[in-house]
């Protein structure tokens, strides 16, 4: 659906050249929710804005639905943009227009007539749950409601793609959840392809089937969200994952540990308790679960347990070998590394 080929975007600021996006090649499949993660300044927003050419790449090609956007005339580009909806962190609603007029503007831009506009706007406001707010002005709405209006505006012309530029970053956690479930619903019911950029791994975990991690204008890692969460390879990705799968143990507890500290990761539907209790029966070791959590990523479970194993050294080692055989990932923390993050 979206293909970005060798996109590079350079700026000159105060005589210095800054590379915002550095040779990025990405493709997003029809109907998926794709996440681009990175800290601010990583170039993710610039990359997203290249998809509808709000930002013209210095070099590289953008294909949307098989069409090379660079080859379009200004008029054709405007037409193409109507099938690419976009929502923003700051909502960007017209403060002098009512909710109805804000949504209607997108339809007028596409040349719809009055009757069509009225009907479609009402449909859209019902979809985002704001039927009763249509005559209010943006200043009278909460952040979540403003974002709903901007979603209605973005969907007005029945786009195939929705671009979300940090759409939930200005919202509180509860509102973020409700906006994310609205996006999920849109993705499922309308079959929309959604590209989300965010610095919150929580958002990726919640809605993205695939994602890419960006740093200094480059994509450093990409893949299915589940794989990224279970086997991150880049240090930056690891640090992002930690924001969701946080397993810091209190200092006092670490001080009392005598045995070996192990982190087990269970993928899919392996019964974690069964593996651990089998292991305890088979070997002469004592096990103590210090921390445990099962996260559902794209409705697939990812379990993480932190155990302390104590007993005879050889028995402990045998037990670890046994676990390595049964479990997708086993990490052993020796004494020296006890204080590090365990995620």
């Amino acid at each position: 659906m979206i293909k970005l080929e060798n996109i590079t975007k350079k700026y000159s600021s105060k005589g210095k050249e800054i590379v915002g996006v550095d040779d990025v090649t990405l493709s997003v499949k029809a109907g998926e929710v794709f996440g681009i993660v990175g800290y601010s300044g990583a170039g993710k927003s610039t990359l997203l804005r290249c998809i509808n050419l709000l930002e013209k790449p210095t070099s590289g090609k953008v294909f949307v639905d098989g069409v090379n956007l660079h080859e379009l005339s200004p008029k054709e580009l405007r037409k193409a943009r109507q099938s690419i909806g976009m929502i923003f962190q700051g909502f960007h609603l017209v403060s002098s227009k009512t909710v109805f007029e804000n949504v209607a503007f997108a339809l007028r831009a596409a040349g719809a007539d009055k009757k069509q506009i009225k009907q479609r706007v009402e449909e859209l406001l019902a979809l985002v749950g704001l039927e009763d707010r249509k005559d209010q002005y943006p200043a009278q709405l909460s952040g979540g409601q403003k974002q709903r209006v901007s979603i209605a505006r973005a969907l007005a012309n029945q786009p195939k793609i929705l671009l979300c530029d940090e759409a939930t970053s200005a919202l509180d956690p509860g509102t973020t959840k409700s906006i994310l479930s609205l996006l999920k619903k849109i993705n499922k019911e309308l079959g929309l392809t959604i590209v989300v950029i965010t610095h919150e791994m929580e958002v990726v975990k919640e809605i993205c089937s695939r994602c890419a991690v960006m740093q200094d204008g480059k994509v450093v890692e990409q893949g299915s969200t589940y794989d990224i969460f279970s086997d991150p390879s880049n240090p930056l990705t690891v640090s992002f994952i930690q924001t969701v799968l946080n397993f810091d143990l209190p200092e006092e507890l670490l001080g009392e540990i005598n045995g070996k500290l192990i982190r087990l990761q269970f993928k899919g539907s392996i019964a974690a308790e069964a593996v651990v209790s089998d292991m305890l029966q088979a070997f002469q070791v004592r096990g103590n679960i210090l921390h445990g959590k099962v996260e559902y990523i794209q409705s697939m479970p990812l379990g993480i347990f932190i155990l302390e194993l104590s007993g005879n050294e050889t028995e402990v080692n045998k037990a670890i070998a046994y676990l390595r055989d049964k479990v997708s990932k086993v990490e052993v923390f020796d004494d020296g590394s006890r204080n590090r993050h365990l995620a």
């Binding site: 405007r78 193409a80 909806g85 017209v94 002098s96 007028r108 831009a109 973005a154």
Partner: protein, 220 residues
């Protein structure tokens, strides 16, 4: 003293109407020409959807040229043009020519600077839904800048009331002319004070109305 003022009332009344006429014509021209000019300056700026360095530079230069001429000199400088246009250089209509010329760049700059205060993201969102430049100007920029346009018009009107007094001195009529004739040439302080009071009241009323309307149209 009161009868001096009463005796002058018909003349004061006429002068007041003349001032009103001059200022109104100049304001109308400011809206008709200065407003589009200001919008043009804004949309051709760097990073905006009709970015055009040449147009922006030329328009900016013309405006700065006019604005750098002090109004008294502009008045005299434009006399031949007024003569050509109206076949006379006397009276409020003639004075409104130079007032209009001064009002256009003045208002254009105010329009430009209030347009700059619009959230750029709003314009970007309009581009993202595929709106044409004309639609963005008509349906986004103008409504968003409306309170600024009205505040700007108030500022322009008050400056023009001041300018109109200068125009009065070279035969334009109006309250300024009255004040100079009685107050300066005849040392008639009573009349001069009266005209000053009239001007103060006029400016206050304009400011009050301007603020009121700007507040009503603002939806922020």
């Amino acid at each position: 003293m009161m009868d001096r003022v009463i005796a002058i009332l018909p003349e004061l009344n006429q002068a007041f109407l003349e001032t009103l006429l001059m200022v109104s014509i100049a304001l109308a021209v400011a809206i008709l020409i200065g407003l589009p000019f200001g919008i043009l300056l804004f949309v051709t700026d760097r990073g905006l959807f009709l970015e055009n360095v040449v147009v922006k530079r030329v328009a900016g230069l013309v405006i700065n040229l006019i604005r750098s001429v002090p109004f008294v000199i502009l008045l005299v400088f434009l006399l031949p043009f007024t003569q050509f246009l109206l076949n006379t250089t006397i009276g409020p209509l003639a004075a409104s020519v130079s007032l209009s010329v001064a009002a256009i760049p003045f208002y254009a700059r105010i329009v430009e600077s209030s347009a700059r205060d619009i959230d750029k993201g709003v314009i970007e969102a309009a581009i993202a839904v595929g709106a044409s430049p004309w639609m963005i100007i008509k349906s986004i920029i103008l409504p968003e800048v409306k309170p600024g346009l009205i505040t700007g018009l108030t500022i322009t009107a008050i400056s023009l009331i001041g300018y109109s007094a200068m125009a009065g001195t070279i035969g334009g009529g109006g309250i300024g002319d009255l004040a100079i004739r009685y107050g300066y040439y005849r040392y008639d302080n009573t009349i001069m004070f009266t005209t000053v009071i009239v001007l103060i009241v006029l400016v206050q009323v304009v400011q009050y109305l301007g603020d009121l309307i700007a507040r009503v149209v603002s939806k922020r």
